[in-house]
Amino acid sequence: MELEDGRFELREIQKLEGHTDRVWSLAWNPVTGVAGIPYVFASCSGDKTVRIWEQSPSTASWECKAVLEDTHTRTVRSCAWSPSGKLLATGSFDATTAIWENVGGDYECVSTLEGHENEVKSVSWNASGTLLATCARDKTVWIWEGEQGNEFDCVAVLQGHTQDVKMVQWHPTMDILFSCSYDNTIKVWADEGGDDDWACVQTLGEPNNCAGFLVSGHSSTVWALSFNHSGDKMVTCSDDLTLKIWGVDTISAQSANGYAPWRHLCTISGYHDRTIFSVHWSREDIIASGAADDAIRFFVENKDKDGLVDGPLYKLLMKEEKAHDMDVNSVQWSPGEKRLLASASDDGTIKIWELAPVSC
């Protein structure tokens, strides 16, 4: 792979307008962009709507195919497709999570999950699509199980975070849930007994209230997290202006039938000077970050350390200044072969980018 030495540029493919308020988040439909199926993704916004965007096979340009409105009564903060691409979950500040089903191109709200006390901040499906996790400002993380007929049962209400939970994310292969919070920590949740006996099995970075000195944990809000393709590494991004890489020993994880402790591998600092809101790890191991300085950055593992033991483990591949006019809230790599990235911003727009080698 030529990521090591080649120079890259970020080509803006298209700027998508339509939302009338800040765009909070976006999600690629995982079964699109492959086998001739045109790319589809969803975006959600402070304008209380969700928009479904599709790439036209003929013109290759992106069009808004559907606007999901009149269901959420406040900001839609987060959206996630089930692994099959059939269901879309959306979490809103109206304290509900809506489940949408794609019925012949029409999106129908088939279920509304109530229970959170206030703003739902994030939604995430597990690898098999049987479990949905949600989190909220109420400091709790909920796990729901899909039943027949699009009914959902609450299987766990997880308390542990001491503040607003910003994001939930399932491990890409195992039924282990990760959550990150305004309390500066990342919590790992597992069903240890196998009887819906979910509990916090690890907290990465304890609250910053004692000596104020923590070697490994974030020192401010953890906004997002993302796994590498194999699931043995995770990146987290924070208001403390750093990205942190965490790792797990996959062999012990498999022998322990799931959970093994995660440990801090390295911290990527010195590159960001404003809050990092979003981070996403690509199949090719390129880490993209979106931040409050309107820029998008890309990091890759530093393989030419020349034997320097203490050399940085990750290096900046490139930085796109002024990627948006305002904060970049979400960056998401596309599925499929292309190196496409979508970004969502407070400026109300979504941009589609292609990361490509500079042609000389």
Binding site: E119, D153, C154, V157, D196
Partner: protein
């Protein structure tokens, strides 16, 4: 303090940002001060700045009940009227004190000391009486009365639900049990008017014994109800909130003030001690509990046979589902169920159902539903009209009342699960299983006082009402 209330109540406080008027109820330790970095406060939702206060504000449990904010993140709540100190001070003042002991608390102490629940009961009687307590009663006795009222109410609701829509009243099935104060508080504060009509109007065993003691037993013991200090011993902190409800205060006409048309207010239960607090009392008094003499039990309101054996219903959370199921099966379908009921685990061990089939058709469907997650699913199903249960025994705590927040904590090295299993075993140890309808004490209460189940008198003394808590404007603004 907050850790001690049931998880359902604790979850009731879900606000990061407590209005200044509610600042009493949050521990401000470990909160971050506002960052100098502007984007740290990205306005996902607009909120006011948190105010740091150093002095805890005192609030009473009544304030908690009236407040639409949280209840129990209140690490600084002063449980002034509900504490061990208050209990001791009343005993020392020479007030006539009556103690009513729950069977769950007996089990907790029995496991802790490695003795039987009956021994615990007798030893506690010795201990309390040495302090000057007039009588020690048993809430399994009042529970039998509450169960009979619940059976009676269920049959009435069931029959109404079988009528056609025109005749149907505003009550309908499922009936939700009402004995758990954590659940009631959550229903009133968070769920509101759509769920309250489904909740049985029967008072909990605690309030039932409160009503019996203050309305009837006091006179029989030649004590003035307004002077008697009635304390219950419960597995649960939320019971303190329950005892504080205005619904459980009644007025009697005072002889002296009759002309002024003003009665004396009588509180059914003046104070609640948890199992853990009774252990504290034992330690405080420096008593070797296991070596303590065993006094005879006060038979007036205690489920004890002539031979000295304890009796009561099965089911460590009160046996509501089981008792009503057996009664309804017999009364409505003529099916007498012998042997233990076949509760089947549905989702997890805290959600179990039992059904009655007649000619291949399910005619009764009951369930035990413990813990917040299971409660959530039921509540949602009721809201969307997809709940096909006839009766649900709802408890806020996972594993039910034996796992109440007021129970004695596991010993070092003991897991919570192991302790629960031990408690479940000990709970019915040497306790005869008995039908509430054949309880002689309860029969006498009906004969001498309440007439019959569901009578006007029974309704006045043994039933209650629920009130949706209107969200205060500040709470709403803060949730915006």
């Amino acid at each position: 303090m907050s850790e001690k209330f049931s998880p359902t109540l604790r979850i009731g406080d879900l606000s990061d940002f407590i209005a200044p008027s509610q600042a009493c109820i949050v521990s401000l330790k470990g909160l971050k001060s506002s960052s100098s970095n502007p984007s740290a406060n990205k306005p996902e939702v607009s909120t006011s700045n948190q105010q740091l206060k150093t002095e805890p504000v005192k609030i009473s449990l009544k304030d908690c009940l009236a407040c639409s904010g949280c209840v129990t993140s209140a690490e600084t709540i002063m449980l002034e009227k509900q504490s061990l100190d208050e209990f001791l001070s009343n005993v020392n003042k020479g007030k006539p004190v009556i103690v009513s002991l729950s069977p769950q608390s007996r089990a907790s102490l029995a496991v802790h000391f490695g003795i039987s629940p009956l021994q615990v009961f007798k030893k506690l009687t010795t201990l309390f009486k040495s302090l000057g307590v007039k009588a020690v009663f048993d809430t399994s006795c009042s529970r039998d009365l509450a169960l009979i009222e619940t059976c009676n109410e269920f049959i009435a609701w069931y029959k109404k639900s079988q009528m056609n829509d025109d005749e149907r009243c505003n009550t309908s099935l499922p009936m939700l049990s009402s004995a758990c104060p954590g659940w009631i508080c959550y229903a009133e504060k968070q769920l509101g008017s759509y769920i309250l009509p489904y909740i049985s109007s029967v008072k909990s065993p605690q309030q039932t014994i409160g009503a019996i003691v203050k309305n009837l037993i006091c006179q029989q013991m030649d004590l003035r109800p307004d002077e008697v200090y009635h304390v219950t011993v419960m597995p649960c902190y939320d019971k303190k909130l329950e005892a504080s409800r205005d619904d459980f205060v009644f007025q009697v006409e005072s002889e002296a003030k009759a002309s002024e048309n003003e009665g004396i207010k009588i509180t059914e239960v003046d104070s609640v001690l948890t199992s853990g607090e009774v252990l504290e009392l034992i330690q405080l008094k420096g008593v070797d509990f296991k070596a303590l003499e065993e006094s005879p039990l006060d038979r007036m309101l205690t489920n004890v046979t002539e031979e000295g054996e304890l009796y009561g219903v099965c089911g460590s959370s009160g046996g509501y589902a089981e008792t009503v199921f057996r009664y309804a099966a017999k009364l409505l379908f003529g099916k007498e169920i012998k042997g233990p009921l076949d509760f089947r685990t549905i989702r997890n061990s805290d959600f179990r159902e039992v059904t009655l089939e007649v000619e291949g058709k399910t005619v009764l469907k009951f369930a035990l539903c413990y813990g917040f997650r299971n409660l959530q699913n039921i509540v949602r199903k009721i809201k969307i009209g997809k709940c096909d249960y006839h009766f649900l025994e709802i408890m806020a705590c996972p594993s039910g009342c034996l796992n109440g927040g007021g129970q004695i904590k596991p010993k070092p090295g003991q897991s919570a699960k192991d302790l629960i299993q031990l408690l479940e075993t000990v709970y019915m140890e040497n306790v005869l299983v008995a039908d509430p309808f054949s309880n002689p004490f309860v029969k006498r209460l009906y004969d001498e006082w309440l007439e019959q189940p569901g009578s006007e008198k029974a309704k006045r003394h043994m039933h209650t009402e629920y009130h949706p808590v209107v969200k205060s404007i500040t709470a709403q603004l803060h949730n915006w």
